[in-house]
C-alpha cells in the first residue's frame, strides 16, 4: 500500500544553513505518528514543507501518491492536509463559531456572486454549513461558547478550537504542532484522549510534533526522531526508548 504521506530525502537550506537534511519518512493512512527532537532540530520546518509554506531545496514530498511540489498552502489544504500552529493562530476578531465556519469554506459550492444574489440555493447551503459547524462544535463541547470571541477562551479551549477548525477542512492528514505546549498534566492527559478520539472518529492520520515525551510515547504508533535536521531514528515507542542514539541526543 502506498503511503499517505511520503517524504523522500527532503532537504532545505536557508542561505548557508541546512535546516533539514535528507529526511525520509512516511505516514500511513489512519496512523498516529510522532515527530520528536530537541529544540531547533527542524520539526516545524518539516511541517512547513509538508504544508507548502516552504519548498524543499532537494527531495520530494508526495501526498496520497501525488507530488506536492509547487503547491501553495491553501492548495495543499484542499488536497487534505490540515494543521495547527505551535503558537495558536486563531482568528481573534471572529467568534468561536465563525472560526470553524470559515474553515468549511473549502467545501462551499457557492462563492462571492452567490453571496450577492442570496438565492434559495445560497441559503440552503449556509443553513447546512451552520448545522455542520454546530455539530462539530458539539462533539467537542464548545457549542456553549460558540458566540464568544475566540480570544476569550481558555488556553486549552483555544488549542482545541484550533484543532476543530483544522478538522472542518475535512483532512485526511492532520498535523499538530506541539499541541501540548503550555498545558498542565491534567490537560495533557485530556489532550492525549482527544487526539486518539479524533483519529478514530474522523478516520484520519495524525502527524504530531511534540516535546512532551509522555504524550508522544503514550499515543503514537510510530516515532521519527530528528536531531540537527537529520533523522537519527524511527520506530515504535518502545524501540525509540531503547535506542542509544536517541537517548544520547534527546532523552539522556
Amino acid at each position: 500500500m502506498a503511503s499517505l504521506l511520503q517524504l523522500e530525502n527532503v532537504t532545505i537550506r536557508f542561505g548557508g544553513l541546512t535546516a533539514v537534511s535528507s529526511v525520509s519518512a512516511t505516514v500511513q493512512e489512519g496512523e498516529l505518528v510522532g515527530l520528536i527532537g530537541p529544540n531547533g532540530a527542524g520539526k516545524t520546518t518539516v511541517f512547513n514543507m509538508v504544508t507548502g509554506v516552504y519548498q524543499p531545496t532537494e527531495g520530494s514530498i508526495a501526498f496520497a501518491g501525488q507530488p506536492t511540489a509547487g503547491l501553495k498552502p491553501f492548495e495543499i489544504t484542499e488536497r487534505g492536509i490540515a494543521r495547527t500552529f505551535q503558537n495558536i493562530r486563531l482568528f481573534p476578531s471572529l467568534s468561536v463559531f465563525d472560526n470553524v465556519r470559515v474553515a468549511f469554506h473549502l467545501h462551499l459550492k457557492h462563492d462571492s456572486v452567490h453571496s450577492l444574489t442570496r438565492g434559495p440555493k445560497f441559503h440552503r447551503e449556509e443553513i447546512e454549513l451552520r448545522e455542520r459547524t454546530r455539530e462539530l462544535l458539539a462533539i467537542f463541547n464548545l457549542e456553549r461558547v460558540q458566540d464568544e470571541p475566540s480570544k476569550s477562551l481558555s488556553y486549552g479551549d483555544q488549542r482545541r478550537l484550533e484543532i476543530i477548525r483544522a478538522l472542518a477542512t475535512r483532512p485526511k492528514l492532520l498535523l499538530l504542532d506541539e499541541p501540548a505546549a503550555g498545558m498542565n498534566p491534567a490537560e495533557k492527559l485530556e489532550l492525549m484522549k482527544l487526539i486518539q478520539f479524533i483519529r478514530d472518529k474522523f478516520q484520519l492520520a495524525i502527524l504530531l510534533v511534540e516535546h512532551d515525551m509522555k504524550v508522544v510515547m503514550g499515543i503514537c504508533q510510530r516515532i521519527h526522531v530528528l536531531e540537527y535536521g537529520r533523522k537519527i531514528a524511527e520506530g515504535t515507542p518502545a524501540e525509540i526508548r531503547a535506542n542509544p542514539a536517541v537517548i544520547a541526543a534527546y532523552l539522556g
Binding site: V53, A82, S95, V102, H110, S112, L116
Partner: protein, 313 residues
C-alpha cells in the same frame, strides 16, 4: 418568492432615493449639493472599508481610483452625449448610468492592475504602493491634453441627482454587507486577522485580497463618476493625497470593519468638511488634530456601539 431582509432594505433605499429625487427641485441648491456630497462620501467610505477595514489591507490610493472613474465616466458623457442627439432625460437615465458603470469598470481594472502585483506586500508597503499609484494618476491626468490636462475637464453635464447618488450608496453598502455575511465572506475577516492561518485553512488569501481590492476600486470609480457629474468640472488636483486621506479617516473614525459606523462617519465628515470650508487651509489642520485625538482616545473607532454580528445570514 420571499425576498431576504437585506434585499428588501436595498429596494426600500432605492425607492426612497427615487422619491426624494422627484422633489429635489424644491430643495435648497446648497443643501442639495451637500447632501449629494454626503451620498458620494458614503459610497467611497463603504468601499474603502471593504479593503482597509474588513480585509485588513492598507490602501492610500482610493482617490486615485475615484479619479480614474471620474474621468472615464465624464469622457463618455461629454464626447458621446452631444453626438447622440437624445433628449436630456434619456441621457440622464440611460447614458449616465452606463458612464457610471464604465467608470467603475475602468477603476476596477486599475485596481486589478495595481493590486495583483502589490497585494503580496503587507501593511505599510502596500500603503506606499497605493499612495504612489494615486500620485501617478494625478500626474498623468495633469499631462494628458485630451482630458484637459492641468486646466481640468470642463463642461460635464450635471446628471448626478439624489436617486443615482443614494442608489449607488445603497448598492455599495449592500454589496459590502452581503459579501461579508456569508461563509465565503467570513474569509475576508480571516485574511485580515491572520493570513498564514487563513491560508492553512484552505483560503486563497491572494484571491480574497484582490476581490476586495477590485470591488472596492469599482465603487470608488462609480463614486468618481457621480462626483464628476455633480461638480461639472474635474481638476486632477482634486484627487490628491488629501482626498485619499479623507476617505481613510472616515473608515478609521467609523471603526475599521463596521458597516454602520463607517456610514455615520462618512456623513459626519462630509458635513464637517462643508462647515469647515470657511476656515480654508486650516481645515486639514483640524482634520489632523481630530485624527490624533481619536487615536489617543478611541483607537477602535468612534462608532462601535453595534457588536459585530456573530452568525447572521
Amino acid at each position: 418568492m420571499k425576498l431576504p431582509k437585506s434585499q428588501i432594505f436595498l429596494l426600500v433605499a432605492l425607492l426612497v432615493a427615487g422619491g426624494f429625487s422627484a422633489f429635489s427641485g424644491r430643495i435648497d441648491p446648497y443643501i442639495l449639493d451637500v447632501t449629494l456630497g454626503v451620498g458620494i462620501a458614503i459610497t467611497l467610505a463603504s468601499s474603502l472599508n471593504l479593503i482597509n477595514g474588513f480585509t485588513g489591507q492598507f490602501s492610500l490610493g482610493h482617490a486615485g481610483f475615484m479619479a480614474v472613474g471620474a474621468y472615464s465616466s465624464a469622457m463618455l458623457t461629454t464626447t458621446l452625449g452631444p453626438k447622440l442627439g437624445a433628449s436630456a432625460g434619456v441621457l440622464q437615465w440611460v447614458l449616465f448610468p452606463a458612464s457610471l458603470l464604465l467608470g467603475g469598470l475602468v477603476a476596477a481594472l486599475a485596481g486589478l492592475a495595481v493590486g495583483a502585483p502589490s497585494l503580496r506586500l503587507k501593511g505599510d508597503y502596500l500603503a506606499i504602493v497605493t499612495l504612489g499609484f494615486g500620485e501617478i494618476i494625478k500626474v498623468i491626468l495633469q499631462n494628458v491634453d485630451a482630458v484637459g490636462g492641468a486646466r481640468g475637464l470642463v463642461g460635464i453635464p450635471d446628471y448626478t441627482n439624489l436617486f443615482w447618488t443614494f442608489g449607488v450608496a445603497a448598492v455599495t453598502v449592500y454589496v459590502v454587507w452581503a459579501l461579508l455575511n456569508s461563509t465565503y465572506g467570513r474569509g475576508f475577516l480571516a485574511v485580515a486577522d491572520d493570513e498564514v492561518a487563513a491560508e492553512a485553512m484552505g483560503l486563497n488569501t491572494t484571491r480574497y485580497k484582490i476581490t476586495a481590492f477590485v470591488v472596492g476600486s469599482f465603487f470608488a470609480g462609480v463614486a468618481g463618476g457621480l462626483y464628476a457629474h455633480l461638480k461639472g468640472y474635474l481638476n486632477p488636483g482634486g484627487f490628491d493625497f488629501n482626498k485619499s486621506i479623507e476617505i481613510v479617516v472616515m473608515v478609521i473614525l467609523g471603526g475599521m470593519g463596521r458597516h454602520v459606523g463607517v456610514i455615520v462617519a462618512a456623513v459626519l465628515l462630509a458635513v464637517l468638511n462643508e462647515t469647515l470650508r470657511s476656515f480654508g487651509d486650516y481645515r486639514m489642520i483640524l482634520y489632523s488634530l481630530l485624527l490624533i485625538l481619536l487615536m489617543l482616545t478611541r483607537p477602535q473607532g468612534l462608532f462601535t456601539w453595534t457588536p459585530r454580528k456573530k452568525s447572521a445570514a
